[in-house]
Symmetry: C2
Subunit: 310 residues, 2 copies
Amino acid sequence: MGGDFAPQVTVEGAHAALAHLSPGTTLVLFGDRSALAAADRWGVLDDPRVETVHTAEVIAMGDHPVKAFAQKSDSSIVVGFRHLCSGDIAGFASAGSTGAMMVGCMQAVGQIEGVIRPAIATALRTVRGSDVLLLDVGLNADCKPEVLAQYGTIGSIYARTTLGIERPRVALLNIGEEPEKGNLLTKATFPLMEQCGAAGAYDFVGNIEGKHLLSGEVADVVVCDGFSGNTLLKTIEGFHRILQLQGVEGTFMEGLNYERVGGTPVLGINSTVIIGHGCSSVLAVTNMIRLTERAARTDMVSQFKQAFNH
Amino acid sequence: MGGDFAPQVTVEGAHAALAHLSPGTTLVLFGDRSALAAADRWGVLDDPRVETVHTAEVIAMGDHPVKAFAQKSDSSIVVGFRHLCSGDIAGFASAGSTGAMMVGCMQAVGQIEGVIRPAIATALRTVRGSDVLLLDVGLNADCKPEVLAQYGTIGSIYARTTLGIERPRVALLNIGEEPEKGNLLTKATFPLMEQCGAAGAYDFVGNIEGKHLLSGEVADVVVCDGFSGNTLLKTIEGFHRILQLQGVEGTFMEGLNYERVGGTPVLGINSTVIIGHGCSSVLAVTNMIRLTERAARTDMVSQFKQAFNH
């Protein structure tokens, strides 16, 4: 029950998500039970598909993530990860402290053997209405070529299992389309991704420039270092925000609303974890829950293991 | 007289630019004189403010820039640079081969002593109607911290002299606002830029995230490596193009039209050089000429020399 506007927004988001859950899915809410009850104007807690786990502590935004994760053992994030690791829940999401969520991913869940660096990914809606997955968007500001080449596999598996893209086209974000273009990193990455493509790890389609990202014509998965990905994402967000304030509307604009996606998956770890924006709205929380269910119902994690444990 | 649509578009652009030139400015056109005459439906060549210099060769887009610059000594680009270096003209612009233009900048004009790496810059129009200068946007895909710190000085001088911003606020493009955020490059650059700020080289305001770039609220000059800058620029172009195709209009959208700026200055070299888009339209050529005049009439180059020759 994290996030700047918890528990009100979170409970309302849970209420809205219930309408979309698949049969057999149970929604487990972690948080202060009396606060949850006080915020529950929809009877969410009485729904037979909902379980609550009482937690008494709160990891605040100012807390040091590693320390807080170690010390606040009765916070919703720590208890949630405990349930995730014991298999009581199949996926875990929170709009609480991003830092603590990452500590949970790395310390409690752990990265998949063979994965050099996990990534966080964002799916953007293209003008064609398809999704394009961008990774990494900020977990690894400095990447080695081998890490980017692996992101092709990681992104491809997520796109296939969770986004439903049958044969994702994987491209390398670059400043030119020709193989020899780029900075030292992308120049060294290109041949590695070409090898991955030749070996059948994924469908490598070459370089993509930022101008083609949202066209949907070139790639479904775009691989980049976390600095570039984060910059690109935030630039699009800023541009989108300005246009929104100016009253520009339409399907394309709507598709770029972050609330539509609801959260950022952490990929390359041993379970399904989605991190929501701290300032998540009801719609964002709803979609965060729906995304977590969708991802947890796939065999994404076992596909990661199969791809890297050889 | 370079560019994909030369000489027609170029002559028409020259015609339109003449209406805006300051008294005392002469516009010198380099190109095949009979082709220019054939394209001249406006009497541009008869204007007393226009001179033509006949050139017989053409550097084609497929030509190797270094070889072409060495061998095609009677092309408009090579002859133009000769006139620039001899002081016959005060500024030079072309929408022809970008590669050959860069060879001219580095070999014929040369970089200013003390400048580690020249940069290319793009001014974007913010939502407030002000300009924000982004550099580097593609000349140096891999930058050292010292290079980025210098870009603060270079960008600041250009913003002051040519964009008319009295006291430009200089920021470092980063993935967080706090000084300790970033990748290895930006983390190492921050303290150097802080020192430059303390020494009065420019007004360093700290980190800026992509989402604040076009707000105009944080910075007038944004410094980044050429990979990030080029990616960011092309992403904005792509986003802008999609919205344009969807019929989105307004001042903000118009301001982001590249034709409004007309060309990219090469900064940190011993003269004024503007490189236009290959696919420049009449409006883009017009503005390329106007920008060249504006920059050439300032003391930008001597300010660069003063800043770095100590």
